[in-house]
């Protein structure tokens, strides 16, 4: 029998060294950029979206909220940019956020009823919906928002994250034009007054 130490040596002998997948002489400047292999992303246009966490009723409220936070203007709003789908994905993976959303959505219906005597949030007028969000927005500006304000803080943050990382938000709304291949970095000046 070989001793443990000898066995180690023998195994070591079969260790494989690596060769680099290119030669050191290659001029990388001639390298052509490979197109990105995009990961699966936005649902197929027209394909129905099946939420993983939200109920269909909750999804409608979430969609409405995202559009109140980032509405359609001369560019599409949050709902059209796929933000509710993004929020569903994030919340589905975060138990703490699940509680925040469950409680927040429930409370939203209640505050609509108590404030305006009306029905659920979606049945309120736009002005009434905005009024509720305005007070939540003020409360969310506090250092440590709690309850409804915390919910608003969460959905506003996720809406911003989702929208401005979407194709619509980043390219169409913000006009991001980076990720280009420039021969030189341009010379900038300070704008005139």
């Amino acid at each position: 029998m070989t001793s443990r130490r000898e066995a180690l040596k023998i195994i070591g002998a079969v260790g494989v060294t690596c060769a680099f997948p290119f030669s050191a002489n290659e001029l990388y400047g001639q390298h052509v950029h490979e197109p990105m292999q995009a990961e699966p992303q936005d649902a197929e246009p027209g394909a129905p979206f099946v939420p993983r966490f939200f109920t269909p009723a909750q999804l409608l409220v979430v969609s409405r909220l995202t559009d109140l936070i980032i509405p359609p203007t001369d560019t599409p709003g949050a709902a059209a940019a796929g933000v509710p789908q993004y929020i569903d994905l994030v919340v589905n993976e975060d138990p703490k956020l699940q509680t925040t959303f469950r409680e927040g959505l429930e409370s939203l219906d209640k505050s609509g009823q108590s404030r305006f005597g009306g029905g659920d949030f979606l049945q309120l007028t736009e002005a009434q919906q905005v009024e509720i969000l305005t007070s939540l927005n003020e409360a969310a500006a506090q250092k440590k928002p709690e309850g409804d304000a915390n919910f608003f803080h969460a959905i506003k943050g996720l809406t911003a994250d989702g929208y401005y990382t979407s194709r619509v938000g980043l390219l169409q709304e913000l006009g991001y034009n980076g990720d280009a291949v420039l021969a030189a970095f341009p010379v900038f000046t300070i704008p005139e007054h």
């Binding site: 260790g15 001029l27 292999q37 979407s166 980043l170 980076g178 990720d179």
Partner: protein, 523 residues
């Protein structure tokens, strides 16, 4: 091959290991580099040109699908963290090496700027660093290519800072701004931290090890997770034992000299794991200093917008991320703390806009506010120097093991009073500059939520073997043919990004190892 005894076995292949390997191989030394992760092909493995909406969760992963994961926290893969760094390449100054002598806190290095200058020269010539010669006492000049111009936002901040008597310069990066024989110039696509797909940004494979392969003296063993540095009864390092990452097979590589260079925390962990009857508290730890004096940089940050740029047309100024730098200047000012800070300054557009969630309000007004501020964004990423303290250390977690059955290594850093004072000072300086430049502040980071970056210390060099682990050549005081070459060796961290100094130390260690091999001292 069973009987191969390499001249030098290097654990790790990043800034320290890769530089050391290349320098040794170039002078004819037979080198084995043992790396825990797989080979990385910069050209096909990174998501350099990805945008957030390419991914359902909007996070751009570093590696393409199906590639072994690499994160800047722990970058297993040939090239190590140099694959994922931001490439800021700053020389340390006399003040950084002799901080204790100057302000009485922390520890001096056992070397000074004059010892390092020739090695900084050599590294900058080899790898290509861009920057300006700014003539600053605290930030020595080097050998530079032209740096890319400042962005509009940088110019506004520079003007504001000047009114406060503070100088903002073009940053210095190990990124090529003109092509060399083997690497192209930067194309300013703006996703440096995600991995550069053309190797315009330095990485230890393309700039150091690939050219050194031509010598025939360099062998790289990827996917080999080192579990132990072996030391003989005669107190000589004889090689390393490793576990193959994929097969779990065990192996050993023998060498006349061993250099540990697998990044600060892992290097200290490996030495602690390599205990023996000769070194019951961890290899080369007769001083008891191994794992102590862990001094990562601590970060603060300020974000805001430059009023003059709000609502301006969007121009592609993503560049190579941060183009501007606020070098340490506090030695010229009265202050109630030891050491200093430096600030990386980023302005302009960016593919990730996490700041948008902090912009107040909602509705069409909010949407308009964000859009107008997109080209006006400014961010200050501040780096402070931490003074060593007893609560900050690296040790083995004896309760938990990793997938290879090795002890997990834990690193704990605790900020104290001096750090708080620096933290407040660097945030205040950033806010003052932003306001002076006619900007508005969006957010200021909170000391109670510490962020650390650049893992440093834990295996410090020094002239006294009772209070340090290594001598000034990165050689163990205890074991004469054992070296440690990475950020763990720093006795004090400076506020400056450490990588250029790690590379210079590796070049210096390579000279020492090569000379001693020639003299037969490693027999």
């Amino acid at each position: 091959m069973p009987n191969t005894v390499f001249d030098v076995c290097i654990v790790g292949s990043g800034a320290g290991g890769g530089t050391l390997a290349a320098h040794l191989a170039q002078r004819g030394v037979q080198v084995a580099v043992v790396e825990g992760g797989p080979p990385v092909n910069t050209r096909t493995d990174f998501n350099t040109h990805a945008l957030p909406f390419n991914f359902a969760n909007r996070h751009i992963p570093t590696m393409r699908a199906g590639k072994y994961g690499m994160a800047s926290e722990r970058a297993r893969g040939v090239g190590g963290k140099t694959m994922l760094w931001n490439a800021v390449a700053l020389r340390f100054s006399h003040r950084d090496f002799k901080g204790y002598t100057i302000d009485g806190a922390g520890a001096d290095w056992p070397l000074d700027y004059a010892d390092m200058a020739p090695y900084y020269d050599r590294i900058e010539r080899e790898v290509g660093v861009c920057g300006n010669r700014d003539g600053l006492e605290d930030l020595p000049d080097g050998i530079y290519m032209d740096a890319p111009p400042l962005k509009s936002g940088d110019l506004l901040l520079q003007r504001g800072a000047k009114e406060l008597g503070i100088r903002i310069i073009q940053t210095r990066k190990a990124t090529l701004t003109r092509a060399t024989a083997t690497r192209p110039a930067c194309h300013y696509c703006g996703n440096c931290m995600g991995g550069c797909d053309v190797a315009a940004k330095y990485n230890s494979v393309d700039a150091h090890m690939a050219p050194a392969m031509k010598t025939g003296k360099l062998a790289i063993f990827p996917n080999s997770v080192v579990r132990e540095v072996v030391v003989s009864k005669e107190n000589r390092a004889t090689g390393v034992r490793f576990i193959h990452r994929e097969t779990g097979a065990e192996g050993e590589i023998r060498a006349r000299c061993v250099a540990v260079a697998c990044a600060c925390i892992q290097s200290v962990g490996l030495l602690l794991m390599s205990e023996s009857s000769l070194y019951p508290q961890g290899l080369a730890n007769s001083s008891g200093q191994l794992g102590r004096n862990f001094i990562p940089h601590f970060n603060s940050g300020v974000e805001g917008f430059l009023t003059e740029l709000i609502g301006r047309a969007v121009v592609n100024d993503e560049g190579y991320i941060d183009h501007a730098y606020l070098p340490s200047y506090m030695h010229a000012h009265k202050r109630d703390y030891a050491r200093s800070f430096g600030v990386q300054i980023y302005t302009g557009i960016r593919r990730t806009t996490g700041w948008a969630r902090e912009v107040p309000g909602f509705g069409a007004d909010y949407k308009q506010r964000v859009k107008q501020r997109f080209p006006a964004y400014a961010s200050f990423q501040c780096f402070g120097e931490m003074i060593p303290n007893a609560q900050s250390f690296i040790q083995l977690d004896k309760t938990e093991k990793d997938e290879f059955g090795l002890h997990k290594v834990k690193a704990i850093a605790v900020q104290q009073e001096n750090e708080r004072k620096i933290y407040d000072a660097m945030n205040k300086a950033s806010v003052d500059i932003l306001l002076k430049a006619g900007g508005e502040v969006l957010s200021v980071s909170n000391f109670e939520k510490p962020i650390f970056n650049h893992q440093l210390g834990g295996c410090r060099m020094g002239s006294d073997p009772r209070t340090s682990v290594l001598n000034s050549y990165c050689r163990s005081h205890d074991v004469p043919n054992l070296y440690v070459v990475d950020g763990s060796v720093f006795p004090s961290s400076s506020e400056k990004n450490p990588t250029l100094t790690i590379m210079a130390l590796a070049a210096r260690a390579a000279d020492n190892i090569g000379d001693r091999l020639q003299k037969g001292e490693m027999a």
